[in-house]
């Protein structure tokens, strides 16, 4: 188990270094931050002064070195507009994003896993077809449009839910449903197919043959075994869920890291954008690492692979 954990940790560190390089290059190679900050009328001298002030006149590897040194001291520089440390601004937004993603994930799990199990048990019936149709439509739904439709119905037409912002539990309902809708279809389909795989195993037939109650067969023999791959898939989907959170936060003006990142990118506030992007990628790495370790712990076959 220790070797397995160490191996995963080493991989996570390599990924983190890669993330820092790409985040850095993204804003330095793809374009010129100075040009983006200045207006068209600015003089060439202004550009020079700004470039020096921001340290952008140094060679690229020196800039990366400075950037990396800052990262290790948890210093991402100041936001160009708010003039406050970028990291503090990002950290401030984390609880809102966690609240949204957790709520979205719980909602998705509560709906998709029971539906997936039912669809597998009642395979090829009308119920199964309905569940699959629901999942296929859900997968095709652009979630920002779904969010807007919910706002039109629940906030504009019926005045039952607030259209945007964060505060009361009511504020959480529509964003969580929107985000949950992005995760539920794939979870449902995976649950269905994993359950189908397991229900055709010999040990299920044995359990049934020796007269174990069907409910017990489904839960203890089938579902518990299916839950390991389902947890792995949920973990792998986390990056996508965070991506969905960016979209959802933008639509509902939810004050999380996603909406912060989007507005920072649109304002060319690159220290803030870098901090936000880096933080989100780090969260994904951490979640994937924890899932890997948890699964390795639950399923001995994986850690000896």
């Amino acid at each position: 188990m220790t070797t397995y954990v160490l191996k995963r940790l080493a991989e996570a560190v390599i990924v983190c270094v890669g993330i820092s390089v790409i985040t850095f290059l993204l804003l330095h190679v793809a374009g010129d931050p100075v040009q983006l900050l200045l207006s068209i009328e600015s003089k060439a001298e202004d550009a020079k002064i700004l470039r020096q002030a921001l340290g952008l006149d140094r060679p690229l590897y020196v800039q990366y070195g400075i950037f990396l040194k800052g990262l290790l001291r948890l210093d991402f520089g100041n936001s160009l507009f708010i003039r406050e440390p970028a990291l503090a601004l990002v950290l401030e937004r984390i609880p809102a994003t966690i609240q949204l993603t957790v709520a979205g994930m719980v909602l998705a799990i509560l709906i998709s896993i029971p539906l997936g199990v039912i669809a597998a048990v009642r395979r090829y019936t009308l119920l199964d077809n309905l569940c699959t149709m629901l999942a296929v439509s859900g997968q095709a739904m652009p979630i920002f449009w779904l969010g807007l439709m919910l706002i039109i119905l629940f906030a504009v037409k019926w005045h039952v839910l607030p259209a945007s912002g964060r505060g009361t539990p009511l504020h959480l309902l529509m964003p969580a449903a929107t985000l949950g809708a992005s995760l539920a279809p794939i979870t449902m389909r995976m649950t269905r197919s994993k359950m189908l795989d397991i229900l055709s195993e010999d040990y299920i037939r044995t359990a049934r043959a020796k007269g174990v109650h069907e409910r017990l067969v489904l839960f203890r023999h089938a579902f518990l075994n299916a839950s390991i791959p389902i947890v792995t898939i949920l973990g792998l989907q986390f990056g996508r869920l965070l991506g969905g959170a960016i979209v959802t936060e933008t639509v509902f003006a939810w004050p999380g890291i996603g909406s912060l990142a989007v507005s920072a990118i649109r304002n060319f506030d690159y220290p803030l954008a870098q901090a936000a992007i880096l933080m989100m990628a780090l969260i994904v790495v951490l979640v994937n690492l924890s899932v890997d370790i948890a699964v390795g712990y639950l399923d001995p076959r994986i850690r000896f692979d």
């Binding site: 991989e11 390599i14 990924v15 890669g18 993330i19 790409i22 993204l26 804003l27 793809a30 374009g31 983006l36 296929v136 439509s137 997968q139 095709a140 739904m141 652009p142 920002f144 449009w145 807007l148 439709m149 706002i151 039109i152 504009v156 990056g239 996508r240 965070l242 991506g243 960016i246 979209v247 933008t250 996603g258 990142a261 989007v262 990118i265 649109r266 060319f268 954008a273 936000a276 992007i277 989100m280 990628a281 994904v284 790495v285 994937n288």
Partner: protein, 279 residues
């Protein structure tokens, strides 16, 4: 194909019909649409769709805030979505497949570098990568396609690498090697043809994902620039009028939904058709 078989793949056939219809409309947009999508009739601005009592059959889906015909703009908007989806998937697939074949075939250091690169790319929320790159490079159709293509490759690498790795161990590859074929020949002539089914299925599903990504970028104003009609852009414009004229946001979203649904149904159908063992 027999009728029975057609019925078995009815969902896929429906998908094919939707995709054919949307592509047909987009291709022949000039002949099909009633109006010029750029033509502004300011006097008729914000006409509701025909099912509303104030609507008129001259503009079946109504007009936008500057009096342009919504139906014509939707038909032309399909061009942007389909073109972005297909071209960006082509770029992503070429990069991803090449890296996947290299990693899976050669293994060792080459493979571990490629694999780490995939893990790094997968850790980023795809949306933010694309958003940042577009913001920095400037929004345009060309940049949109490049960015979506360059950020979208890891999924192909992951799939192709795993399959190549398995195929490499099979006897026909050993036989080819024993006969003295070069690695390049083995990869292109012996391994790659076995991957085509997987690639077709993955690519078709990816086209749908790219269309949704494109529409979100356009929704934020970072996609194809106005006045060129795009579904995401129309949705973004419609958002401002959501309280008073909800159809402006509803209709373009519906167009995206139906198109991606069609593509997904077609992709799922292709998977069942090409790889019956999976089910």
């Amino acid at each position: 194909m027999s009728l029975q078989k057609l019925w078995k793949f009815r969902a896929g056939v429906l998908g094919l019909l939707i995709v054919a219809a949307v592509s047909g409309l987009a291709t022949f947009a000039g002949t099909v649409s009633q109006h010029d999508p750029y033509d502004q009739e300011i006097a008729k601005r914000l006409t509701p769709p025909v099912w509303d009592e104030r609507g008129s059959s001259a503009h079946p889906l109504g007009t936008d805030p500057v009096g342009r015909d919504v139906l014509s703009r939707l038909i032309y908007g399909g061009r942007v979505s389909l073109a972005t989806g297909v071209v960006s998937v082509l770029i992503a697939a070429v990069i991803g497949i090449a890296l996947g074949l290299l990693g899976g075939y050669y293994g060792g250091n080459v493979d571990s570098v490629i694999n780490n690169l995939v893990n790094v790319m997968m850790a980023f929320p795809f949306m933010l990568l694309a958003l940042t790159a577009i913001a920095v490079m400037g929004p345009s159709f060309r940049n949109l396609v490049i960015v979506l293509g360059i950020t979208g490759w890891p999924i192909y690498t992951r799939i192709v690498r795993a399959e190549t790795y398995q195929l490499k161990a099979l006897e026909f590859v050993t036989a080819a090697r024993a006969m003295g074929f070069s690695s390049l020949t083995i990869i292109t002539k012996h391994i790659f043809p076995n991957l085509i089914n997987t690639i077709i299925v993955t690519s078709s599903l990816e086209v749908a994902r790219m269309i949704i990504q494109e529409s979100f970028l356009s929704f934020l104003g970072l996609g194809v620039q106005p006045p060129t009609p795009s579904w995401g852009g129309m949705l973004g414009e419609g958002r401002t009028y959501m309280l008073t004229h909800p159809w402006l946001a509803t209709l373009p979203g519906l167009a995206i939904f139906v198109t991606t649904l069609g593509i997904n149904l077609l992709g799922d159908g292709l998977r069942d058709l090409l790889d019956p063992h999976q089910y």
